[in-house]
């Protein structure tokens, strides 16, 4: 053992100095390099994992939203169609109603006019008859040259006209 120490010049002071050197290296490495670096790496891993997780969740949410949107859209379309159909039916109905109303009214008006015209016609004919009688009387008086008493006249006229 002594010869070993002699050969290699082993000195406990040097040993202690080297132990101190190692301690310095360890503490410097640990506190300045390894600890913050590994913490950073851990943080980064956590952050990336979280980001990926978030992205997945967002994607899921998006696809769900899209699905919902499609569904809502289809529903809205269906509803709109229904409304349009309904409106069409109502309009048709209304149209028919109005048409029939209009026809009725027109018919009424025509009937009224017809009646009026008939009345007028009858009146005109009556007047014409009266006029013609007067004319005949006048012309006969002229032809006969004399005026018979009006009583006879009247009877005669009536006979002629009939």
């Amino acid at each position: 053992m002594d010869s070993l120490i002699e050969t290699f010049h082993i000195d406990y002071k040097l040993l202690i100095a080297q132990v101190i050197n190692f301690a310095i290296v360890f503490f410097v490495l640990y506190y300045f390099a390894l600890k913050p670096l590994m913490q950073t790496m851990k943080d980064r891993t956590a952050k990336i994992e979280k980001s990926l997780d978030d992205a997945k969740r967002v994607e899921e949410k998006l696809s769900k939203t899209e699905e919902d949107y499609e569904k809502e859209l289809a529903k809205a379309k269906k509803e709109a169609n229904e409304i349009i159909n309904k409106a069409g039916v109502v309009a048709e109905k209304k149209k028919k109603e109005m048409l029939s109303n209009a026809k009725d009214e027109i018919g009424n008006i025509i009937n009224k006019e017809k009646e009026k015209m008939q009345q007028e016609k009858a009146k005109t004919i009556k007047e014409i008859k009266k006029e013609v009688a007067n004319l005949v009387v006048a012309s006969l008086e002229k032809i006969l040259g004399e005026k018979k008493d009006s009583k006879k006249n009247q009877e005669l006229i009536k006979k002629i006209i009939k």
Binding site: F8, H9, D11, L14, A17, V25
Partner: protein, 310 residues
């Protein structure tokens, strides 16, 4: 030790190898006396690779060796790099941070295969990584030009000896022994924390097995043979712990020191070109040795924190 006579900067090219001579002499004090006899009258400067780190300055009775200065340099580098890194850490990695994160991730992957659980890897990581960085930088620093070739000339017993200012930190037994001791001692501390003091003590001095004998001997007589073996195995483990320290420190020291001697020998044969492949080899050896040391410490930590596995 003697005082400085004059300082001189020499290059690697001039390195001569006389260290072999000193070892052949079989002196107890390998350094000083041997040189004196071998080169009495010569006045050339002697370069040699001693097995120990040479002191270059003295404060009181504390020798500052060239390996210690090199380790200080490594500590300084670690502080500077860590400091700059700390200021630049952000959630979005850039530049140097990317490199460090890649290294950390890689290491954690390897650690998982040893510890078997990420939580344990994370717990041991800072300690084991500190070993790795300190040893790696020390190994590689020993390869830089200027380290081992810039120094002073010391006059000793009438001859001039070249003493470099820097020497690879791990090419000194003191460094490797200190690191190995820290590693093994810390593995025991972790063990005591994880398993509990009494249980941990029983791994080495197996009181439990001893206490079991009278209780169970009626039911199972084979316990009379098995439990003494258990106690003996526990005692062997104590020696095993010492062997851990020895194997860790000598492996690292031997590899790095041998590398330096090899490089010096190669440049002594032919300084141009020839050392280059060996330089690459030493770079790889430095990395591998640092990795082996760190991995073994990790294995010891894992083993000592596991509950008894008999």
């Amino acid at each position: 030790m003697s005082k400085t006579v004059g300082s001189e900067i020499t290059t690697e090219n001039k390195i001569e190898h006389k260290s072999m001579v000193t070892q052949e002499d079989n002196h107890e004090e390998v350094g000083v006396e041997a040189r004196t006899e071998a080169h009495e009258a010569t006045h050339e400067i002697i370069h040699e690779h001693t097995l120990f780190a040479e002191p270059i300055y003295r404060i009181g009775n504390f020798n500052i060796t060239n390996s210690l200065t090199n380790t200080w340099l490594v500590v300084l580098i670690v502080i500077v790099v860590s400091w700059t890194l700390k200021k630049r850490i952000s959630l979005i990695p850039k530049g140097i941070q990317n490199v460090f994160e890649m290294v950390i991730e890689g290491f954690l992957g390897i650690f998982d295969s040893v510890t078997g659980a990420r939580a344990k890897s994370l717990k041991f990581f800072p300690l084991v990584f500190s070993f790795f960085i300190l040893i790696l930088l020390n190994n590689w620093m020993g390869l830089l030009p200027g380290i081992g070739s810039i120094g002073q000339v010391i006059s000793e017993h009438g001859q001039k000896i070249f003493v470099p200012y820097f020497r690879g930190g791990t090419a000194d037994m003191n460094t490797t022994l200190a690191l190995a001791t820290i590693g093994v001692v810390i593995s025991h501390i972790f063990g005591v924390i994880a398993v509990g003091g009494w249980n941990y003590l029983n791994k080495f001095v197996n009181f439990k097995a001893l206490a079991e004998i009278p209780k169970k001997v009626m039911k199972d007589p084979t316990i009379l043979i098995i439990n003494p073996i258990k106690i003996f195995v526990g005692l062997i483990e104590i020696i095993g712990e010492l062997a851990k320290v020895a194997s860790l420190s000598f492996r690292l020291f031997g590899n790095i020191f041998a590398g330096e001697v090899l490089l010096a020998s190669m440049s002594a044969i032919l300084a141009f070109g020839l050392p280059i492949p060996f330089m690459f080899l030493e770079v790889i050896v430095g990395l591998i040795q640092a990795l082996i040391f760190a991995m073994l410490i990790l294995a010891y930590l894992t083993m000592s924190t596991m509950a008894e596995e008999h």
